[in-house]
Symmetry: C3
């Protein structure tokens, strides 16, 4: 794949506007020492560069751009529209958001603009255009970064009106809308578009996370995601008037719920994202998010933000241990990143992020552990050069991730409040992660034929066309794994009548008659043909075989003996239906058998406690070998004798790796 950048961007958020000119000079010196070659600037400077409705003042920004250009930085130029200037909120209170309780906010915070405010839109578009006009031709501007971490919701009158327009466009008639949302329920029939109000605490919201009408609330999620996306494309198009080719991005946030990133990615030139694991986040969870971000466009991505060491906004902001940031960075590259950027380059003197780690500490010197680690990584990345840029991650397994499902599953009232989307997806991802089997995170409309196995846990909402796509995939020899809470509703959250799992019933060869919910203190057993018994819980589908065979059955309760896990042969392929939340042992048992039969290969054949990931360029494979475990483990024997690109040393037989150690092995592809 053609790389977006000419080198690995290594740098991050840089806010010289918060500092004196003496500090700028010091920064340049220190960054050079650390091999930093890129800076993300102008992220939160709207009030500075537009001090009033009528005035723009780019003088300081000019100086910053000049300095970075002189120093040959790749500039990631942000548009500053993620936080409103105070003067704008004062003069036009409508630009501020109205919250879930229906209260309009005053000036404060960030991510605070109503996406449907015409005033905000006008000012944001103008600013993006002016920036592009001024800096678009600067060859050092390597990337445009629109706004910042888009997110949040607004419930104001502008949004209400815009929602009605959005709905009219989608449904055409009020009758169609009434049907889609099943508005006969609780007598909610509407006769006019302006009877519709946003679903919040004052209307159909139930608490913060539930709703009386999931169809309505999911449409609001889609609308809100679209509204913010329209803000993005509006600025993008304003930039494109002046700058035809510099890539344009905005930084995403992994599994952030509110935005349908698959839809967003279509409008972005390159995906970028911010990776902030907590002290106790499993490494598999971080890996999954990387794969999801890569999956959005099926292409390498930018790591726009990570902290060199410490967070500030988590409950317990542990230091990254020595080597941890380096290992985390290589994991990021391994999973598809072509940049490594930090938030931020110099720790702030004040404001709520002043304890957020940075390349330069408050001490202001190079002689810190963190700076040394940043510099070491900078030197290594410089050595790595361009060889990994644009290289691909290939996978035989696809895991379906879908924001509509995310929203719908979690709005569902019943059977159990403890069913959550990302956790469930992660349970399946983790299986592959621990086997070093490469995974693509794919959308519901992916080309499944690229994969030997498609895993679609809690595929609660099955939208139009998906039944056919999955049936074709399996008939053609694919293997599909799905679970409880699948095939239940259509895209409007109305149940697919005729028995669960609805459109998947024929494919899975089972009929789920009932879904039992188990409280946390309740457990059942999954009993396998070989007598193995493993624990299961959360929900238990009570199902009947309709062509499928039983792989495991329940071991307790009145449905003991009924199938818990089934396999159905369908055309040339097979469908596994897992009707309950299995424990690790049970899930491994089933997945091992699936992987084996589907001939899915791990990255290396050898079992290992290490994470091993491969990226593939036109002429070489890059094996990233990383230890994220507490113990010390041998480098897999298959790499013995090969050279670690980082140390330039040969890997010896029996050589071991401690926690956070990394090796990269390049294998040429013989053509």
């Amino acid at each position: 794949m053609e790389p977006t950048f000419q080198r690995i961007l290594y740098g991050g958020d840089y806010n010289p506007n918060q500092w004196s000119r003496e500090i700028w000079t010091e920064d340049m010196r220190m960054f050079q020492d650390a091999r930093i070659n890129s800076a993300t600037i102008n992220v939160f400077s709207w009030a500075k560069i537009q001090p009033s409705e009528e005035t723009y003042d780019f003088s300081e920004l000019d100086d910053i751009v000049d300095m970075l250009s002189r120093e040959n930085y790749d500039i990631v130029l942000a548009t500053s529209t993620a936080a409103l200037p105070a003067w704008m909120v004062k003069r036009y209170p409508e630009v501020a958001r109205t919250d879930y309780e229906g209260v309009r906010h005053k000036f404060g915070g960030r991510h605070n603009a109503c996406p449907n405010s015409p005033v905000f839109q006008k000012f944001a578009r103008n600013l993006a255009g002016k920036l592009a006009e001024r800096y678009g031709s600067n060859k050092h501007v390597a990337c445009w970064h629109i706004s910042n971490e888009y997110g949040g919701e607004c419930y104001c009158e502008h949004c209400t009106s815009a929602f009605r327009v959005w709905l009219r466009k989608k449904y055409k008639t009020i009758e169609a809308l009434n049907k889609a949302w099943n508005m006969e329920f609780w007598g909610h029939l509407v006769y006019d578009w302006d009877e519709i109000v946003l679903p919040n605490a004052l209307s159909d919201g139930i608490g913060y996370n539930k709703t009386a009408f999931a169809g309505l609330s999911i449409d609001y999620c889609r609308f809100n995601s679209d509204s913010l996306l329209a803000n993005f494309t509006m600025e993008r198009d304003a930039i494109r008037e002046f700058d035809k080719d510099t890539p344009i991005t905005t930084n995403l946030m992994g599994t952030y719920k509110a935005l349908d990133y698959f839809k967003w990615a279509k409008e972005m030139d390159i995906v970028s994202w911010d990776n902030y694991p907590s002290y106790n986040t499993p490494w598999s969870s971080t890996a999954m998010r990387h794969d999801l971000m890569r999956g959005l466009k099926g292409a390498p991505f930018m790591l726009m933000e990570q902290t060199p060491s410490q967070q500030n906004w988590q409950r317990y902001n542990s230091l990254k241990r020595p080597g941890q940031m380096r290992a985390q960075s290589y994991q990021t590259v391994a999973h598809g990143a072509d940049t490594i950027q930090f938030f931020q380059l110099r720790r702030s003197v004040g404001g709520c992020e002043k304890f957020h780690g940075a390349v330069i500490a408050h001490a202001g010197i190079e002689d810190t552990r963190v700076f040394r680690e940043v510099k070491q990584l900078g030197q290594e990345l410089e050595k790595l050069g361009t060889m990994t840029l644009g290289s691909e991650n290939k996978a035989e397994v696809g895991i379906v991730f879908d924001w509509d499902n995310y929203w719908a599953l979690e709005y569902t009232s019943g059977p159990s409040e403890d069913i959550t989307y990302v956790n469930t997806i992660h349970q399946y991802y983790k299986y592959f992660y621990e086997k070093n089997i490469a995974v693509d995170m794919v959308p519901v409309d992916a080309d499944f034929s690229n994969y030997k196995v498609i895993v679609a846990p809690v595929l609660y909402m099955v939208k139009q066309g998906m039944k056919e796509a999955l049936e074709k995939y399996v008939a053609d020899g694919g293997v599909l794994v799905t679970t409880y809470m699948s095939g239940i509703v259509d895209e409007s959250d109305n149940v697919h009548l005729g028995g669960y799992p609805g459109p998947l019933r024929k494919l899975a060869g089972v009929w789920v008659e009932e879904i039992d919910a188990l409280a946390p203190e309740q457990k059942n057993k999954a009993v396998f043909a070989d007598g193995t018994k493993t624990e299961c819980g959360l929900v238990c589908d009570l199902m009947h075989l309709e062509g499928a065979e039983c792989i495991a059955k329940y071991g307790a309760d009145f449905y003991a003996g009924m199938p818990a896990v089934t396999k159905n042969t369908f055309g040339n392929g097979a469908v596994y239906y897992i009707g309950t939340r299995l424990d690790t042992e049970g899930l491994n048992k089933i997945m091992n058998s699936i992987v084996e039969k589907a001939l899915v290969a791990p990255v290396i054949d050898e079992p290992t406690e290490l994470e091993v990931v491969v990226r593939t360029s036109k002429d070489a494979e890059f094996y990233f070998i990383m230890n994220f475990k507490d113990g010390e483990y041998p480098v897999p024997a298959c790499f013995t004798g090969e050279t670690d690109v980082l140390s330039e040393k040969k890997i010896e037989s029996g050589e071991t790796m401690k926690k956070y150690e990394v090796r990269i092995v390049r294998r040429a592809i013989s053509k």
Copy 2:
């Protein structure tokens, strides 16, 4: 007692308006198969039958009523006023409620009308009248069901004004109000009625459940209950203009806090209620609620809603186990129900209750476990016929339940936040339940002379006349059991001065000098004359004997040796005062002795693990024998040789019953 209905109504909520006509036909066929003979319709159809301020459209409802009439259903016809039409909220925003935080809501949800909105009142009254005019003469309309699950509060300006009118009517002068609420406290004196505001988060509310002025807040509770009741009687009276005799009800909700159901029941022709236990609700708790619902009018009631299997809005919506719904239904009948109705007959396709269990599942077929169980029960009820209809539940024990006390006790600030009303009542109810001793739940103004024992736990508020009533009851030979936190305040929540338990002091023969509060980690002991020591806690009254004798004393702390439980002989009767929360062992010990001395008889003499309840008609007793325990237990020997009405088999010696098994034995009363 003359039964309200000619047969056991068996059916439930039916919403054909949510479905196509093909489905209606299918419904009729399947319902007939299940022996369903009744349907509750038009519960949430206001927007459908009145599409605008000026228009009514009964065409669909006509078709539904016609179909059901043709099929000889007993129609329970709802008035649809429990959810506002969207057009009404748009045109008259005042019809929506204002919440505890003082914010007026927009369109959404249900139970959403301000009870004091003149606009709402006008439209609701009109609608009820029009329905009665149209359908009142239909002989298949067996019952009117006004609105649905009345509840909630409103804090709008209409309610504020109405509250002032309500207060003026109650107190006549502002001086009387100031005295009643003790408004000298915190300088709250008011000089004019319009200085009074509703007690919410913006005024005298403290958090959600506490208040600075309990007198004010309790009056607001009474006012709010009255306001909603006025909505009910308004619709009732509108119906009565056209339909003079069809019984009129609305569905209540057990121990729901906000409405004084004893006051409501006086306005209802028959009580109906919705029974939704959770997966871990004790069966004694459900039984207590049935007895409370029966006690409201001292008459059989309707079970208006239960789920055939699964709930959707609880945290963990477990399936009802095989036989559980049947056993639960018979428990309901045993405690006084003359109908068994489900929510609902066909599972919804969308909306937040789409996972709520129903007779017909999303699969749409009869061949489901749930449908089969519903059909079995239908067949059995058909066989049971009319024999139990109108029969009575007789009890020698009355437990006092009082909404004023419920409100007052839980508004109390001190001594312990952990004192709650329903839990405390249930602790005492459970004792009798486990002994199969029949209990009536009675109001504070009941005719106590009907009972050998009156139990009045936490009789915190003793209203005018109650002292005299209880003294007469005991003097005449009755036995009264009361507890800590009794006799403290008058009906305005002002303390009865002169020493606790105030008006009960002479009667109980004790003076409670102090009330200690124990944190959950703290315990004391109740030490009995025979040396038995049992645990107690929560609160400990420090009391002095004034004529009473000590039954148990404290075993620890500085009040070790002071009485914890006392008995006072008063006239021909006795009063037991239990000054602390005893554990089960201690409470059983005392209650056993009370029951023995009072010659209170259980339903059958034989001890058993089974629940046994008896209903009595003019000519027979019906013994309901039910197993709600996990173990298998013998049918009590006294029933050996008698015939189980359901199976028509003779009960054999040593015959056992598994969990959820039921026997019904009919014993003719020889005249």
Copy 3:
């Protein structure tokens, strides 16, 4: 020190306005019996004494004052402005507060006036003046008590405007403000004063306890404290127009967060406070609050409120055990109180405090345990007479307490959410308490030279001049103990650049490179030179010695071996820097060594489980010897043969004290 009062005021809040005249007579009789000599009146009577905007009615108050004067009471006369009259809120809604969510409240509660409402200010000033004019010359009025328990916040438009004025006065230019709050962060630059809004849920507040801009939020805390203080001084000055010398106070609340009591105390003639420990509050914590209240002016204080037995608003309002109230009262006197006053003298009949303990119970008689204990104490205090009045508490140790630090530390986002101010201060206070080492709680601008040891835990904010003051103190031979999270920010919450602990770096001789945060389940070890290992956690400073010596080092993790506790010799003194939260054993080990080297003497040399505190008058020392432990312990041998002032008995050798026993020994000072 010259005592403020001529006798120990013994009495408390008295609300005869809530009662009939017959009760007044009864009160006088009973109070005399209990040796009560003082009453706090008119606390919540605004609506009574000013029934409308135009009318005042002092007739009842005249009668109360006359009665108390006749009975020779020391009257503490409150101004009644702590709760608005209903009529005022109705006529001038602006007088009510606007809450953190931006909603203006209606009539209700107390402490409900917007401090910046001109209407409130006018009425409050007038009332205070009228009271002073009427009662100021009454010699029985011993003290003015303005308002009551000042506290809370307001976020209305009046406060917004006043805040802008306050800021303009402080910062002079908008540029200075932008710099102080680091407004370049998140693009918050303001160009005009009226762009500034109050930091609440609608602007820069993050949840209830965090903020995006600590500088802004701390300034708001200062402003709010100042606003309420201006209410106080306004009333004070109105009183002074008519009464030149009666002492004026208002009752404070220990470590209440919202008000900078050191600043307040400067405006008060005498400090008074309300002491409400919970059933499980450590006695050291209560002692610390007494010392803080004494420290505010470095002078004896009034105990304005405590309950004779029971609270009502805590979760579990346990009774005070026999002797507990007496022991608590003597602890209060021991730590500097010259009055013992209760809330309240007669238990209320209604309102949310009706279960709050009082001298006279609802029973209304003397023959109660509580009354007897109050009477016993009254007799003893009468015997004690004036001898302790005005006597001083001398200390060689000062612990720094500072509201700016309190606010700043707890607004901090990072490194750990579990760092709280008062708990941390208390950990250090407790060490001295358990050793019977007298402590003064001192402000940041105290004259440190009065102390051998200054302990300044979490001295997060180091304001201008403090560096110099601390350096001088240590250079001159003082010993300073400080901890992690010290020296981080300046008075605007901007980081002192150049390496932590900023201005204390040279003094402490260490550089803290990083601050690790440990989750609750994570621990490290502090390893001492002698091999002792004790547990530590919460945060771990990673520090480098810059002249200091290592006292203890970490025992685990990648920073094992780095210093955890250090000592630096600086001039003639020494600085101890404790870089982590030590457990009790570790902290004791270090503090023992510090105390020993600094020659800090406990009150008595002999170790004891008893609390021993000394107050010193011109001619005598009063030793208060109190047992707050469950066990029975000997009176320290050094008191053998001396006379207990209370019992007038000689203390015998081997004499022991049970829980809550007290001895007072007077030792004449030979001149």
